[in-house]
């Protein structure tokens, strides 16, 4: 196998992976809507965002998800960390609007959520961030299921209804086996499995498997909708063990693409290029030599390795500034879809 030096789950042939460059995210939620339109417009899925984009620092979606437990105690993957199921309030209920009444029946009221003033919802704290003027800061963090190598959601299910697909490591919920017990919901530390109170089953991001398999009406392979629709094309999609591909290079070779919260020990397969921000300014607008996004905050999200990653990127950037060549900078700026989405490399194997 090509992945001798890469950690891939037992019994999985190839592992799908995604790299998101946080420096390119403008928080437009086009990915969120792409996924919502494609997968979660059914009854019972109204409150679900398999793809969400949250402002950081911020409470995220569902609210305070990082404090809700789940994942593994250690890299031995023997003991799971207990987790909790977020409340409806933490997710934010899907608001109802009386379009009918106002637009068709001419009712004299404001177009606002029915049933009282909402107090929380997905993306409620958008652009709030942290820091004091003139050095306030924030960035956007798009999140999907990480299709983890050690998925604690799979382990949590007493019915083996959640499983990791052999061909590409996509983590799926078998809707026939699921009985809505929600141990997966509490077991996932990223809170990326959702309970559908209408079907009484749990659901999650499917990595758009029909699209990557070319099972759509046009029989063509397509990247996942959230990646495909992304306005700034910040996502790379392919296989972690495709050693010629950009994902392998960013994750394994340059080590500049990092998993979110590696301490949860699920070994995610969605990776992030950490965000850079302009340096801080003095009160009279002079640039000062201090990082705007506190390094400690990035360490909280991406672990200690974020320091090396940022350093590597900085070094390569300077190389280019001096007129030199950097493969890393080429990859990070590449807009060639054949490289950005390498989903057919193992097809004829």
């Amino acid at each position: 196998m090509a992945h001798d030096n890469i950690e891939i789950a037992d019994g999985v042939d190839h592992q799908v992976a995604m790299v998101m460059d946080l420096n390119k995210c403008i928080g437009c939620q086009t990915c969120t809507v792409a996924c919502k339109t494609l997968w979660t417009e059914r009854e019972g899925t109204e409150y679900m965002y398999w793809n969400n984009v949250e402002t950081r620092p911020g409470k995220g979606y569902p609210r305070n998800w990082e404090q809700k437990g789940g994942g593994w105690e250690s890299e031995e993957h023997t003991q799971r960390t207990p987790g909790e199921i977020p409340s409806s309030e933490d997710y934010g209920e899907a608001w109802e609007f009386d379009h009918e009444g106002i637009l068709k029946e001419g009712e004299d009221k404001k177009l606002a959520p029915e049933g009282g003033k909402p107090e929380w919802g997905p993306n409620w704290d958008e652009d709030q961030g942290a820091g004091e003027h003139p050095n306030s800061y924030y960035f956007y963090l798009p999140r999907i299921c990480n299709h983890c190598t050690h998925p604690s959601c799979v382990e949590a299910c007493p019915r083996q209804a959640v499983y990791k697909r052999e061909e590409d490591g996509v983590v799926l919920v078998d809707q026939d086996r699921c009985r809505g017990y929600r141990y997966c919901v509490e077991g996932c530390p990223y809170k990326k499995i959702y309970y559908n109170a209408v079907s009484k089953n749990s659901e999650k991001c499917v990595f758009c498997y029909p699209r990557i398999e070319g099972e759509g009406p046009d029989d063509e392979v397509h990247p996942p909708a959230c990646a495909d629709q992304c306005v700034t094309q910040l996502r790379l999609v392919g296989y972690l063990d495709d050693t010629d591909g950009p994902i392998y290079k960013l994750v394994e070779q340059y080590e500049v693409a990092l998993p979110l919260h590696p301490e949860y020990q699920t070994t995610p397969n969605v990776y992030y290029i950490p965000p850079f921000a302009p340096p801080q300014h003095s009160r009279d607008g002079e640039t000062v030599d201090a990082e705007r996004i506190p390094r400690s905050y990035l360490e909280q999200l991406f672990g200690d390795r974020v320091n090396d990653a940022l350093e590597t990127i900085e070094r390569e950037r300077q190389k280019v500034e001096r007129g030199g060549y950097s493969e890393l900078m080429e990859i990070l700026q590449d807009t060639n879809p054949a490289e950005q989405y390498r989903l057919e490399v193992f097809d004829d194997v």
């Binding site: 207990p82 199921i85 977020p86 409340s87 409806s88 997710y91 007493p158 019915r159 083996q160 009985r179 809505g180 017990y181 929600r182 141990y183 919901v185 509490e186 959702y194 309970y195 109170a197 009484k200």
Partner: protein, 277 residues
């Protein structure tokens, strides 16, 4: 005292001891794990159908099932009162347990519904593993959930439940009172011998092993996180023939009574014939 009268006195005393020892057991003649299952003519269709008044109840203690699931040891329900009855080709079970508040919907991420289940062996001849049987020894599960209703399931080990296609089990359920007095009453009913593979035939001739489980939705109990009983049984092995334990007790009592009568008569006779002092 003559030798004879001494012998008589000793024998009498010994027998009285035996009888006295057996009395408390005789007073509650039902063996520990038996759920009486009388045949009832009156209506049993419903949580307070009139027929239930004459059916004796067994108090079945419950404990947390050893599932290994998070919080598995924390269960709310300590016991369930079970009544069983047969009526014209039908089997009925009525179960009642204390639950302060009914949890009847699973329509929010954190909401779980109350539920109850009855487990019987698919093949009444062999007692399966208590935790949902095994692949080689299946169980039938009659399941009722306050949110989703009734299911008739087949299982061969934990996490293996599958639904029978056309459920032959029907239920009636009601929650009454609140707080300390809050009570769920659920009645299960099934024909004794419905068609279909692996459906337990409850045709009598042998006792039927039976176990019970209760889930408190308000305590997020679901799956293997539940309060369960040990194996109990319905005494169906023939109307007069009970299980050996019961028969032995009755035999001891019988012998004791006969012996007391015989010895007493002998003693009286001897007194009359002047054998005494």
């Amino acid at each position: 005292m003559t030798d004879r009268s001494t012998w008589t006195f000793v024998a009498l005393a010994a027998l009285l001891v035996v009888v006295a020892g057996a009395m408390p057991l005789l007073a509650d003649a039902r063996p520990a794990y038996e759920i009486p299952s009388p045949t009832v003519e009156d209506d049993l269709d419903g949580t307070d159908a009139s027929g239930w008044e004459d059916v004796p109840a067994a108090e079945v203690p419950l404990e947390s099932a050893p599932s290994g699931l998070p919080n598995a040891e924390m269960v709310s329900t300590r016991s369930v009162e079970v009544q069983a009855a047969r009526s014209d080709g039908e089997v009925y079970l009525r179960m009642q347990w204390q639950d302060e508040e009914a949890s009847e919907s699973a329509s929010a991420p954190q909401a779980f519904a109350d539920a109850v289940a009855v487990q019987i062996p698919a093949d009444p001849g062999v007692q399966p593993a208590i935790a949902m049987g095994s692949q080689s020894n299946l169980v039938n599960v009659w399941y009722w959930n306050a949110d989703t209703g009734t299911e008739e399931l087949l299982a061969g080990g934990q996490g293996s439940t599958t639904e029978f296609e056309d459920a032959s089990v029907q239920t009636w359920a009601e929650h009454t009172g609140s707080g300390e007095d809050g009570t769920w009453t659920v009645v299960f009913n099934r024909p004794v011998d419905p068609a279909g593979d692996n459906r337990t035939a409850i045709t009598g001739g042998e006792d039927l092993d039976i176990a019970f489980g209760v889930w408190d939705g308000g305590n997020a109990e679901r799956s293997g996180h539940k309060a369960v009983s040990e194996w109990y049984y319905l005494p169906l092995a023939g109307d007069s023939g009970g299980p050996p334990f019961e028969s032995i007790l009755w035999a001891i009592a019988g012998i004791a009574i006969v012996a007391v009568v015989v010895v007493t008569i002998q003693g009286i006779r001897r007194v009359r014939t002047g054998g005494g002092e």
